[in-house]
């Protein structure tokens, strides 16, 4: 069953998240190819990962004066509205038929440990094409100083009928 366009404009938030140094570092490690608990093992940081993302000492002399989060750490603190929209019984998405179709982020201010990020979002679009439903959620996250940190557009694709035929 196709999703109902009447849900366009439905809002979710605010979602408040305080960024912590270890969490930011674990995220960079996991993306960079090692395990999140690398700091407690002999593995060391993976080759090629930028030191300002995992090493507070190295980052002290950077333009930011402190370790910063990988830009795409935004997926951790800004996903709230998208997650809630996909799980919203009123909207009625079948989570087992959902895949993440598209993602767009614009980054403005880097995130440092201790930053408090507040994210609001809304369903920006609902459409259907070739047996697929598209659900797009836009988000805006600001830090404790009110500065814009990241804008996101998150698009889910839901295979809505006869999955064997709709898939590929």
């Amino acid at each position: 069953m196709a999703l109902d366009k009447k849900h366009i404009g439905r809002r979710y938030g605010p979602f408040v998240y305080e960024a912590g140094l270890e969490k930011m570092r674990e995220f960079a490690w996991a993306v960079g190819g090692t395990i999140p608990s690398t700091g407690f093992t002999t593995l060391g940081a993976p080759a090629g990962l930028h030191p300002w993302l995992t090493d507070p000492e190295a980052a002290r002399s950077s333009p930011y004066g402190a370790m910063i989060a990988m830009p795409n750490f935004a997926v951790v603190f800004a996903i709230g509205p998208f997650g809630k929209a996909c799980a919203d019984p009123e909207v009625g998405v079948d989570l087992l038929r959902l895949v993440h179709g598209e993602q767009d982020f614009e980054f403005f201010e880097p995130v440092k440990s201790g930053d408090v990020l507040t994210t609001n979002g809304e369903i920006a679009d609902i459409s259907s094409k070739a047996g697929l439903d598209f659900l797009a959620v836009t988000t805006e996250s600001r830090n404790q100083r009110g500065e814009l940190v990241v804008k996101g557009r998150w698009t889910a694709i839901i295979r809505n009928a006869a999955p064997a035929k709709a898939k590929e």
């Binding site: 969490k23 674990e26 995220f27 490690w29 996991a30 993306v31 960079g32 190819g33 090692t34 395990i35 999140p36 090629g48 990962l49 930028h50 300002w52 993302l53 950077s62 333009p63 930011y64 910063i68 990988m70 830009p71 795409n72 997926v75 951790v76 996903i79 989570l95 087992l96 038929r97 895949v99 993440h100 179709g101 598209e102 993602q103 767009d104 982020f105 614009e106 980054f107 403005f108 880097p110 999955p163 064997a164 898939k167």
Partner: protein
Amino acid sequence: MARTFSVGDTFTLTRKCDRYRPIYYAAASGDFNPIHIDPEVGKSAQLGGAILQGLCTLGWAVDAFIGYLGDPGKVSRVRVRFSRPVGIEDTVVFSGKIVAVADGVVKAEIEAKNQRGEDVLKGAVVEGRI
């Protein structure tokens, strides 16, 4: 700054989705959707087993660009379509090319192909402030 950025510059990064990568990424990101951590659920969703979080693939594309840009705090944009799931033991090669340098922004297009030469991302674009 001495560093110059030019149209036609290229960069690459290779990342393998090792057996537990979706679980490591789940722990770090909070994305514990069962299709990423439970092979049985992945199979029942007709995905052939557990698949990597698309946002981890996006993170790899960002990381590839950071390697070129040299400053993770200056990444200003990333946009991708997830065209094909990344499965366990898949290796993804990211090949970036600078397509524009203007108004203080350097823009790259990135191809991301698995070991079978299939695109796992489509229309991937990253930008940075210079």
